[in-house]
């Protein structure tokens, strides 16, 4: 059984606080109109990303979701670059091209948040196949929600991983809803983990609001994967506090009582109580940690707000390597064709005029 040492416990607490503070800042900025688009926040679910990623090394891979800030932070992502991306700045992880739903850090093995439900699962499975084929020893952890488990790609991915015994840990963050549709209204089962058997893999359930429990079960799964014993479907039962995204009050489909009951199980106070009770930290150390986290987020926000927006024409880069697409000036028949290479002028003085 994996028991995190003191340092790791403190780090897990710090990361959960960092995620919470990040999401609160986003909510604040969004509400003030400082950002465009929409963001799906992770507050309430921090223990899943943090407990899961704590079982990984820097070389391991993760795939993430539309609700991806937590995973990125948990895997070691830079909150300043993240926030700059969410705010559409040129200094963001994706130069402003991705936004909240597409944050990527290839250097940390973060294979992207994803705007398509279940979009990351085949990709993560492919990363697992790479690890197996090359014997690299890397493990991939795919995060996704309960609603996602009804998507065909979930099934296809887990089937291949089970078949080929790939080193992948599939972490279902079961927060009880896919947007407004409760689990009872989107599938006939209560425990997503029962689906593991159909893929010949291990299924497990963790308390998704207890970072230690998640860590323990994720570690066991990661160890199995590294030993070549194949994938695991790890279901973490948790809850999101806010609506589906900032802007959805989240009140049309769930009760205040339900939200309150889950808030009472908040993973952060629980972990604080644990580190205090077990003497890993003092109250003062916890307070300092919180202050450091807040300062880091403030700095990230300041950095982001001061960062320049991209120039419009930067939109033309990054489709292909060393290629800039045809821009606005080429609108019309010649308009913005990715196929631009090799376009010819055909009018003009030379050549045969129309008969």
């Amino acid at each position: 059984m994996a028991v995190p040492d003191n340092k790791l416990q403190i780090e897990m607490l710090r990361k959960m606080m960092l995620i919470r503070a990040f999401e609160e800042k986003i909510k604040y900025l969004f509400t003030r109109g400082a950002m465009a688009g929409f963001s799906h926040l992770y507050d309430g679910q921090e223990a899943v990303a943090v407990g899961g990623c704590a079982a990984l090394t820097r070389d391991d891979y993760i795939t993430s979701t539309h609700r991806g800030h937590g995973h990125c932070i948990a895997k070691g992502g830079d909150v300043a670059k993240m926030m700059a991306e969410v705010l559409g700045r040129r200094t963001g992880y994706c130069k402003g091209k991705g936004g909240s739903m597409h944050i990527f850090d290839a250097s940390l093995g973060i294979l992207g948040a994803n705007g398509i439900v279940a979009g990351g699962l085949p990709m993560g499975t492919g990363a697992g196949l790479k690890a197996k084929l090359t014997g690299s020893g890397q493990v991939t952890m795919c995060f996704f929600g309960d609603g996602t488990t009804n998507q065909g790609t979930f099934h296809e991915s887990l089937n291949m991983a089970g078949l080929w015994r790939l080193p992948v840990v599939y972490v279902c963050e079961n927060n009880g809803y896919g947007i407004s549709v409760s689990q009872a209204r989107h599938q006939a089962i209560r425990d997503v983990a029962v689906r593991a058997e159909g893929y010949g893999m291990v299924g497990a359930i963790a308390d998704g609001n207890d970072v230690l429990d998640v860590y323990e079960k994720a570690s066991a799964a990661v160890e199995r994967a590294r030993r070549g014993e194949g994938p695991t479907l790890l279901e973490c039962k948790t809850y999101r506090y806010g609506g589906h995204h900032v802007g959805d009050p989240g009140t049309l489909y769930r009760s205040n009582e339900e939200v309150a009951a889950w808030r009472a199980k908040d993973p952060i106070p629980r972990m604080i109580a644990h580190v205090l009770d077990s003497g890993v930290m003092t109250r003062a150390e916890v307070d300092t940690l919180k202050a450091e986290v807040d300062a880091e987020i403030e700095a990230a926000a300041a950095y982001s707000l001061e960062s320049p927006l991209p120039e419009p024409e930067e939109a033309l880069d990054d489709l292909f390597i060393g290629f800039r697409a045809t821009g606005r000036e080429g609108r019309g028949a010649r308009g913005g064709c990715a196929a631009g290479a090799g376009r010819a002028e055909c009018g003009g003085a030379e050549g045969r005029p129309r008969a």
Binding site: G99, G115, I179, V181, E311, L316, G335
Partner: protein, 324 residues
């Protein structure tokens, strides 16, 4: 005349049709108590219940296929795919099944269904929530296609689509939902295959679809003051496509700009340009300009997104080019 939004127009059309014909069943993600991702189906679930307005799991291919199954067994389903981007997940059931089932069965069954989905950039929704993929369905035969712009057209065409026996892909624009327009009381239906001249003019024909109709009209206003008279033709449906009305306009003006928010290459503009260039070969005084989303994925950050998605200025620029 009342003034309503496009959102209300769609909502009214759905409510009236649900009330009219008990074989109509709506299925889709979050269309029930939540009222739809764009709040277009608000109130319908409360009024008609689960048996008529049914939330589904997140399974786009599956739900399009379930719609098809309903359609060929006597129901008249309306399927919602939340964003047209997600039709990518459902091309199997839409294109390989629904679009072909009547033909493959030698006419034995007709998949009487309407698939409503949402196109367009402009909301900083990035590459996977901003696409306008209707040209895919134009390319492979099997669906009739509506892509209306105004509340009047949305309501009239959606009601017509729901009553049509052939399958229909119905494209709504996320940025048009709040647009307002006048509509009469009572009921109206609009025939598929009838373009609408949204503005008469003499110098340049602008063929525009969906949200681009608004931009084309605004561009036309601006150009009027610069002495260029623009005729704006809204095809309203792409299959069938009313080439009569388009060609009549082109015969008059001799100059054409086509504005559609899909990508340029192999898009709606390519098809309409190729047809005009053929049908009106002797009447064109200038090359046909195409304005569409630039051929890159749609970026998140507003300065880039606004550059990539066609703007009023882009239309002004293209019209001036055509008018030269």
């Amino acid at each position: 005349m009342r003034t309503i939004t496009c959102r209300q127009a769609v909502n009214e059309a759905l409510r009236e049709e649900l009330a009219r014909d008990s074989r109509i069943v709506m299925i889709g993600e979050d269309i029930g108590p939540y009222g739809g991702n764009f709040k277009v189906t608000e109130g319908l679930w409360r009024e008609f219940g689960d048996a008529r307005v049914l939330d589904t799991p997140i399974s786009e291919n599956g739900i399009c296929g379930v719609g098809l199954g309903l359609a060929i067994t006597g129901m008249r389903p309306i399927v919602e795919v939340m964003f047209s981007d997600f039709t990518a997940n459902a091309m199997d059931q839409l294109v390989n099944q629904a679009a072909k089932i009547r033909y493959m069965s030698g006419g034995q069954v007709t998949p009487t269904m309407v698939v409503r989905t949402v196109i367009g950039g402009g909301r900083s929704s990035a590459a996977q929530h901003s696409q306008s993929l209707h040209a895919w369905f134009m390319h492979v035969p099997g669906f009739k296609i509506a892509i209306p712009s105004t509340p009047y057209d949305l309501k009239g065409l959606l009601k017509a689509a729901v009553r049509m026996d052939d399958p229909v892909m119905f494209f709504e624009h996320k940025m048009a939902y709040n647009m307002q327009g006048e509509v009469p009381d009572g009921e109206w239906l609009i025939d598929f295959g009838k373009a609408d001249v949204k503005r008469a003019g003499d110098d340049v024909t602008v063929v525009a679809t969906s949200l681009m109709v608004y931009r084309a009209l605004a561009a036309a206003e601006k150009l009027e003051s610069e002495g260029i008279s623009v005729e704006v033709v809204d095809p309203r449906t792409l299959i069938p496509l009313d080439m009569d009305t388009i060609a009549a306009s082109v015969r008059k003006t001799g100059r054409v700009v086509i504005v559609d928010e899909g990508h340029v290459t192999c898009g709606v503009g390519a098809e309409i340009a190729a047809r005009i260039a053929y049908d009106c070969f002797d009447y064109l005084d200038a090359p046909i300009e195409r304005v569409g989303t630039l051929d890159v994925p749609i970026p998140f950050s507003p300065p880039m997104e606004n550059y990539v998605v066609p703007s009023e200025d882009d239309i002004v620029f293209a019209v001036k080019k055509a008018a030269r």
